[in-house]
Amino acid sequence: MYGGGNVFEATKFDDLQTEDPAKLAEFEARIARGEKIEPTDWMPELYRKQLIRMIEQHAHSEIIGALPEGTWITRAPGFRRKMAQMAKVQDEVGHAQLLYSAAETLGKSREQMLTDLINGKSKYSNVFNYPAFTWADSNIISWLIDAGAIVNQMANAKGSYGPYSRALERICAEEAFHLKYGHDAVVHMATGTPKQREMIQAALNRWWPPIMTFFGPSDKMSTHTETLMRWKVKMASNDECRQQFLDMYVPKIWELGLTVPDPKLKKNQETGQWEYTEPDWDEFKRVINGDGPCNTERLAVRRTAEERGAWVRRALLNPKAKYVKPLA
């Protein structure tokens, strides 16, 4: 599950001047023809760096994203939900595995990526810094956060880097099941007992502000964004993704008799665009920089898992083996 926002900040484009102009032109021509770039192909350093950063953040979002829903596996009500919740969260961890492999093809090892996650050097999707207070929160995540992730990932699956694009196709297929599962769970709550309806509405109220920031702030068009779009690294603007999400899911939320907690939310019939209360981007920045309700807890869990599992990884390590990056 990954929404994309805030991936491409703080990049220096000067690096491009050191690239061989002929190779760069050929590289861009290949992308323009719709060809995929493969791990052993020539690529500008900047392309490599941005992709590592993007795929790595995506992978981290999958394992950290497993935590808020994961806490509800042991409490899921009834066999049907218990088994589905387990399978769903397991899928997310499986996505992380796929994505770390895709990022490794670009030259950064999984161990290094996980170390950078724990150090706070690399980020993950900001929504997972919010807590899942109740079973209903977990349902909202399964439905609407996964829905948001699909919007973003369907766009990125058309990107230029072969291993990432293929991983995303597989991931999207699984996410489609999550969406059905999440929707089914929310439908049961929204059409259930008064207590269940109250729980699901409260969860929606809690999750709506983070959902609105899921795709990141409005993109400011710059040479920077233009280059990334030309290279098919960034496939859709944050605002485009957000509009598409609102278009697809607000009617479905209303259909269930739930209220979206934003009095300004409506579709402007003339422009065809959704209007809404501007999300609190100051809070977004604060949370992304570590000051959210669960940042410390999420990283602490990950750190503990890494520390407690270190002896297993040491035992598996064959001192004679040499690290070879996978091909895809």
Binding site: I63, A66, R75, P77, V89, W135, H188, R313, A315, L316
Partner: protein, 251 residues
């Protein structure tokens, strides 16, 4: 065939798998490597699915529906062995428990697939193929880690020593033991245990791990009769936390 004897056997089978499945699922998000995270989660899903199959047989014999049976009983109504309810601890303990439990489980399933009681035979035949993979997973990891670093060997050996009395508790006889054997339902706990010892020895011999002398060990019995450690009731409370908000609601 005495229906009580069959029910007792079914509860024992179902409860073991539900509780171990629940414990395995706690590894989701916390594994020492992602692949193990995923593996424990897979086995958890299988175990809980298997428990559901046995609870469904119980329902056919007139017991309450699987959700009610699994989510509303108290610890003293559970028939699982104490081995499966112990907390996961570190990966060493979880792996050793998995190794000991699944090597016994596969023998039970093999025997039950030949059972004179047809509903159990059908289910066991269908599910034993999945348990085979659980055993393969456990044995592979025990062989790998059990002959790797000194640290890993020490950890696994101490987990093995700690788990063994509980593992032997799996073979606690039911009060219907002789009846089940006589009716050809399965060969009974002594037979399962004898075969189990053979099989785990074969694996352990390929490692630097040693099975302690069994004569000096007191098995932790009681689980099959509703006597449990302090860890089971909190597990059940957690499992039923949402379900009990409204047991009549459709979740």
């Amino acid at each position: 065939m005495n229906e009580q004897a069959i029910k007792d056997l079914l509860y024992k089978l179902a409860d073991d798998q539900l509780i171990l499945g629940h414990r395995n699922s706690e590894w989701t998000g916390f594994g020492p490597i992602l692949e193990e995270d995923i593996a424990f989660s897979s086995m958890a899903q299988d175990k809980i699915g298997h428990s559901l199959a046995f609870y469904t047989l119980l329902q056919e014999l007139g017991e309450a529906d699987p959700d009610t049976v699994a989510f509303t009983r108290n610890a003293n109504q559970f028939h699982n062995s104490q081995l499966v309810e112990l907390p996961n601890g570190e990966y060493d303990f979880s792996l050793i428990r998995h190794f000991m439990y699944d090597n016994a489980e596969i023998i039970r399933f093999e025997m039950l697939s030949q059972s004179s009681y047809e509903p159990i035979a059908k289910v066991a035949t269908k599910l034993k193929g999945e348990v085979k993979y659980h055993v393969l997973h456990a044995n592979t990891w025990i062989k790998n880690l059990g002959s790797s670093t000194e640290e890993a060997i020490l950890r696994l050996q101490s987990a093995l020593n700690e788990a063994l009395p509980y593992a032997l508790g799996m073979f606690e006889k039911s009060k219907y033991e002789q009846e089940l054997i006589d009716a050809g339902v399965y060969a009974g706990e002594e037979a399962v245990k004898a075969e189990w010892l053979k099989r785990i020895q074969v694996v352990l011999e390929k490692t630097d791990l040693k099975l302690p002398d069994l004569t000096s060990i007191n098995p932790k019995f009681g689980g099959r009769y509703g006597e449990h450690t302090e860890y089971l009731q909190p597990l059940l409370d957690e499992m039923a936390e949402v379900f009990k908000i409204d047991p009549t609601a459709e979740w």
